[in-house]
Symmetry: C2
Subunit: 275 residues, 2 copies
């Protein structure tokens, strides 16, 4: 499956250079984990993708069924990554979308990243990034193709021992990691930043918020300053590929990998077995 | 020349779907007017493009000379549009740029847009957009590929009689048009928004600011609220393709096309003749 790419359902690996996805980042994407031949959380990924299309005025008629047909044609493998990109398609020069707007579908298959240091088990080191996320409610939450802020934040460090950088918004609120969402636990309260002004509302974030109450955790979404993390007993990041990675260090502060984080990981593993 | 596309100097019109320009908008672009076979303001366009590459960590070694070689190979035509896109090239999944990073060069040739209503001569109608520009100093000024805000702002109206929409930033400052920069004249002072927090520092904007003093105009860059335009005697927008378009109406308010705007247009026409 690795390396396979479908463009509008056909095996191909190139797109028109006049596509609005390249010209303006006029599109959305999803990165989906395949486990035992099953695409995990597929319904939620497609739901977010369609919500992104609506927000960006990309027509979504038949899109979901076309994507499901594309995905059904992929050879099932034990584990891998399937990335979906949907753009507003080719158009003339100029910001106004062409009429009719014919979306482009790209499906890219890759191997699962290799993490020899077993970050889910051993925990990860985090840092604070200098790059701030701009506040743009019109684009908040969705996974669109305008990702320069993440590129700039991720370019701030090369040390492979640091697995993720946390970013604030321009108003100084904690938002997320460059490629992950952030949670912390104080007592029996699970905190995560609200994403009304910026940030990507991750699929694993949604899952964590959904299951946390079953573990006796109250969930709280809010606007937090960095010092809100001072009282955290446990801290973790999550995304669709990595799952849940406990933090063992954020800058100079060490964290223990706590029981709630381990319980969430165990629950996630069970979820994947059920896929 | 119309429709011709060069990818890394070769005639082709497709790019790899795993290019970081599509994945993240990790790249920059320039839209250049060709007049009498000459690319207008080419040095300034390349200067801004290289500045954009530096800001986005795209290596620019030899880039300028490679682009000049690409451009020299284009068939000269009387009038047309040459768009240059430079991306960070193909890379694996993940926000960290691949090492080495091998930039991709795309050159797209198009016909000059047709404006039957002669907007430069007759003036244009403008509106205010609801879409706000997020404040992101790290990306301000350069012409990068993350242009969803412009797409959203331009999608707000369909009336072809309205030529441009003006946008504020999220703090309520006037910034620019969706595809143009904005100037207004009160007395003998030429005003335009400072672009430290957002906006694209246009090539025509630079030219206007450079030549205005020779016409007896003092220039003032600042943070302006929309009511700053209430005292304007003349208002115009500009970009590299359109040149200078005087405003004759902004929402309910009418404007006269004034002598300073006409003088700037005459000077620009002379500039193009000298190309």
């Amino acid at each position: 499956m690795t390396g396979l790419t479908l463009i509008n359902g056909r095996t191909d690996d190139r797109i028109e250079s006049r596509d609005r996805g390249l010209a303006y980042g006029h599109g959305v994407f999803e990165t989906i984990l395949m486990v035992d031949g099953q695409l995990t959380f597929l319904d939620w990924h497609l739901e977010r993708l369609l919500e992104g299309c609506r927000r960006l005025h990309i027509p979504d008629t038949h899109l979901s069924s076309l994507l499901r047909t594309d995905l059904a044609a992929l050879p099932a493998t034990e584990a891998g990554v399937v990335k979906i990109i949907v753009t507003a398609g080719s158009g003339g020069r100029g910001y106004a979308a062409p009429q009719p707007c014919e979306p482009l579908r790209v499906i890219q298959c890759s191997e699962l990243p290799h993490w020899p240091d077993a970050p889910a088990q051993n925990g990860v080191r985090l840092r604070w990034c200098q790059t701030r996320l701009a506040q743009q409610p019109q684009l908040a939450g969705i996974k669109h193709l305008n990702r320069l802020e993440q590129v700039l934040a991720r370019a701030e460090w090369q040390d492979p021992a640091i697995r993720e950088g946390l970013v604030l918004d321009t108003a100084g609120h904690v938002i997320e990691g460059t490629m992950s969402n952030l949670f912390w636990i104080s007592g029996n309260i699970l905190h995560t930043p609200a994403l009304n002004a910026c940030g990507v509302a991750g699929i694993l974030r949604r899952w964590v918020l959904t299951v946390a109450p079953t573990l006796g955790l109250a969930t709280r979404l809010g606007q937090y300053r960095p010092d809100a993390l001072d009282t955290a007993d446990e801290l973790f990041i999550c995304n669709s590929l990595a799952g849940i990675w406990p933090a063992v260090q954020l800058e100079q502060r060490a964290f223990e990998i706590g029981p709630h984080t381990r319980a969430l990981q165990a629950l996630l593993n069970k979820e994947y077995e059920l896929c």
